[in-house]
């Protein structure tokens, strides 16, 4: 196994300076942190809850919780990773409150997932961006990602959409690194499979075998 993404020791980042000012009671510094990350928190919350109003609530609750607990933030991780962890927990609570019966163990999902190799003969050609207009593509992407189990979706969104590292994702979700990697692989392959149905359908509709 290769070692990955070493943690590089950094001088106090601009972000950490903002955090320290906010800890000392400078609300304008905290507001700057809100401005910096509100869009990310909203996207993450929306991806998890699949509900816009819930996502708006999560944005407010996550930042308020961060504000109220700022003194407890140890500065051992990035502020953003800490904030994401709070936001993910808030979003999951919303989700569970709304759909209590749908609490499924993800490890079971991983185990029961079909392990057969994907079989493909044709690549996506032309590119999906050329096959569909923006609105159609967005609709397809929304539908495909909504179909993923929540735990896979969350890992995928944090890693591939929000650009967190494997370690940061593990920290934000309270998962082990192997669990993040396993779920990420599943999520990527399942999304690919789901998109494939659309993109191949369109290609075969054009007379391709």
């Amino acid at each position: 196994m290769s070692t990955i993404q070493p943690n590089i020791e950094q001088p106090v980042s601009e972000e950490m300076q903002l955090v320290r000012r906010a800890k000392r009671g400078d609300d304008s510094a905290f507001e700057e942190l809100v401005r910096r990350y509100d869009r990310n928190v909203f996207r993450i919350a929306q991806h998890i809850t699949q509900n816009r109003e819930d996502a708006e609530d999560v944005v407010q609750e996550a930042f308020l919780k961060a504000y109220g607990n700022l003194a407890k933030f140890q500065e051992q991780s990035k502020f953003y990773t800490w904030l994401v962890r709070i936001a993910v927990n808030e979003a999951l609570m919303k989700l569970r409150r709304r759909k209590p019966e749908r609490t499924v163990s993800l490890d079971e999902e991983v185990k029961t997932e079909d392990d057969s190799l994907p079989r493909e003969v044709a690549d996506w050609s032309p590119n999906p961006e050329q096959m569909y207009n923006q609105a159609e593509l967005r609709d397809i992407l929304t539908r495909t990602i909504q179909g993923l189990p929540e735990g896979f979706r969350t890992v995928f969104v944090l890693r591939d959409k929000e650009g967190l590292s494997t370690e940061e994702t593990a920290e934000a979700l309270g998962l082990s690194i192997p669990a993040v990697k396993s779920r990420l692989l599943r999520a990527r392959l399942q999304l690919r499979e789901r998109l494939n149905r659309y993109f191949r359908k369109r290609a075969s509709g054009d007379g391709d075998q």
Binding site: S2, D38, R43, L141, L185
Partner: protein, 85 residues
């Protein structure tokens, strides 16, 4: 290398976090295995499509409203002292 072994390393391969030797083994596999090549390429495209998409963007007016609500509540919180949560 078997296809299943390739698939197990796919995420590391796409993330570019493999050592040179493993990467070269995977490159060799891709050079002759068309199936894995297509799976790898379409998975890469899947990630790119999502990364570039603008799903769930927060509109500016709502952003301003939310930020203002957050800062108002923060200031109330400060005045009333830390509430037990």
């Amino acid at each position: 290398m078997k296809c299943s072994e390739f698939l197990n390393e796919l995420t590391n391969y796409l993330d570019g976090v493999l050592d040179a030797r493993t990467k070269s083994e995977l490159d060799d596999h891709l050079a002759w295995c068309h199936n894995c090549y297509v799976v790898c390429d379409t998975t890469r495209k899947t990630i790119e499509i999502y990364r570039d998409s603008e799903l769930y963007e927060l509109p500016d007016d709502l952003r301003t409203r939310l930020r203002s609500a957050i800062m108002t509540k923060c200031s109330e919180h400060k005045k009333s002292g830390p509430a037990s949560s």
